[in-house]
Amino acid sequence: MEFIPLGDSALLIRLGDDLEKLAPRSFENILGALQRLEAAQISGVVDLTLSYATIAVFFDPGRVVEAGAPVGNLVDWLTAKIQGALQKGSKRKQKKIESRLVEIPVCYEQEFGLDLDEVAQRAAISIKELIQLHTAPEYRVACVGFTPGFGFLSGLDQKLATPRREAPRTAVPAGSVAIGGIQTGVYPIRSPGGWNVIGRTALRMFDLQRDPPALLSAGDRVRFHSITRAEFDSLGK
């Protein structure tokens, strides 16, 4: 485990190097570490995020000093607090971390899947097989970013890996399900984007009327299932 300052107001904890190659178990470890840090409520910590095998701890230096840290060595003080919080949790009989499973219904019709043919051709498979391969795995949200609510999903079948489009689209419709390299994801809001679009969901991935507004959060498990155009229309109502 490495502790690396991200400027003067955040610390990056690198728990491992390459999550893609690690066992699914490491997701639970990272999620568990995040939950222990949340529970510890360290004074001056204002935000926590995870991304792949890293956790970032954002802090307000003034409040950390108020909590007793020496100005000249705030980072070491905070690092010790974080290590303490992580160890405290791990010594206790650890209950299994329950991550959420989010089911996403997707209509894989040509009308929505702007790049459906290209992705299938590249993989030398039929569209039916493409849908089977895309709906088979249980994905993990490795991180959320790019736009609010955009989850980068790990676990795509290697056969479906498709490089990003050479010319990104200036506007990808909200709800578009797409593949970028070895990752897949859903565009929560209409935005520019270079991923290959293979379908669309009627679910609102980012909705300010909801708490939290984003459907996906880092660490969640995700499954896609195929629906017909008629089902899509009735869900969208």
Partner: protein, 328 residues
């Protein structure tokens, strides 16, 4: 009550100190690009430091007031006028119904923060009144201000009312905020930075080039970041990195070797190596960068960055206490 935007100029938006605690769902902090200047402007009009105000970019802005308020602004070198009165940065001014504030283009820098007593009364979204223009929420209808917008103003608080009373004889305050707080713009800024999480992915000559080279601000500059042109920064190994958290002030280096200095509206995560981070007390200078400015960097330690930040907080606190005595 409202205030009327007669001319919004190239870009004006409602901002506050920012939106915190939502990075896990991909929502960054945003907010006034110079949160310190925003706090000072708010203090000058007897607002809470977290009140929403207007961030004006590159001037050509005109606003009409419809009742009595105290206003103040901080930021770049803007020519600001109300009627015949020239309003310098960091001074408080009493406006009356019908008064119009006009600002032309700035001589140096590019942004100003205009505080109005009572604050801009737009709804809180995810705990903040800041406009997230990319995701289209927060602020005034989730967008930049347009000509003709009527912005709702909050009720004037008791301290602000007392403050207004003291200004009816002389509408422009004789006192002002310290100069280094109200105008951080310079053509040849020097930014202090600390080593980034990926510092060691660059060789010594690249590290030296960052510290000794001169970098020019390209036309690609906005609320998300500043693309710089200068000595090419080359990584030792060009392997793909997994995305990690980035913060305002992070200097990331894409494959082109031309660094990008991230600003308040930056994404929450990034996959480019992070060579360095501009320290928090220098972000107000970053907020004023515009095309053609020449930037130099200087390395500092994290503990120095912290002591500078804490010193500034103490100075601001003293300033606030002094203001309370003057305005009540």
């Amino acid at each position: 009550m409202i205030t009327q935007i007669l001319r919004a100029g190239p870009l004006a938006s409602v901002q506050d100190p920012g939106r915190f605690g939502h990075r896990r769902i991909g929502v960054g902090s945003g907010g006034a690009l110079d949160p310190f200047a925003a706090r000072v402007a708010n203090l000058l009009v007897s607002n809470d430091v977290t009140a929403a105000l207007i961030e004006v970019t590159l001037g050509n802005f005109r606003i009409r007031f419809t009742d009595e308020r105290v206003i103040a602004w901080c930021g770049g070198a803007f020519p600001v006028q109300i009627g015949q009165d020239k309003i310098s940065a960091g001074h408080a001014f009493l406006v009356r119904a019908g008064d119009e504030l006009v600002t032309g283009a700035p001589q140096i820098g590019c942004r100003m923060w205009l505080a109005i007593s009572g604050g801009i009364d737009v709804p809180f979204v995810l705990g903040s009144r800041s406009t997230d223009m990319r995701a289209a929420f927060g602020g005034f209808n989730g967008r930049a201000l347009h000509d003709g917008d009527d912005l709702p103003l909050g009720e004037v608080t008791a301290p602000a009312r007392a403050h207004m009373k003291t200004m009816r004889e002389k509408r422009l305050s004789s006192w002002s905020a310290p100069r280094e707080w109200i105008s951080t713009a310079t053509r040849y800024p020097k930014l202090r930075l600390t080593r980034g999480a990926d510092w060691d992915r660059f060789n010594t000559s690249t590290q030296e080039a960052l510290m000794s080279g001169k970098f020019t601000v390209t036309p690609e500059v906005d609320r998300m970041g500043v693309r710089l042109d200068g000595p090419e920064l080359k990584r030792i190994e060009a392997s793909d990195l997994l995305s990690e958290a980035v913060v305002p002030g992070t200097i990331q280096v894409p494959p082109s070797g031309k660094p990008i200095l991230l600003s308040g509206d930056c994404q929450t995560i990034g996959g480019y190596p992070k060579i360095a981070h501009v320290i928090t007390v220098d972000l107000p200078i970053v907020a004023q960068l515009r095309t053609g400015d020449e930037v130099r960097f200087q390395e500092t330690s994290i503990s120095e960055a912290h002591s500078l930040l804490l010193q500034r907080e103490r100075d601001l606190d003293r300033f606030r206490i002094g203001l309370d005595l003057k305005t009540s």
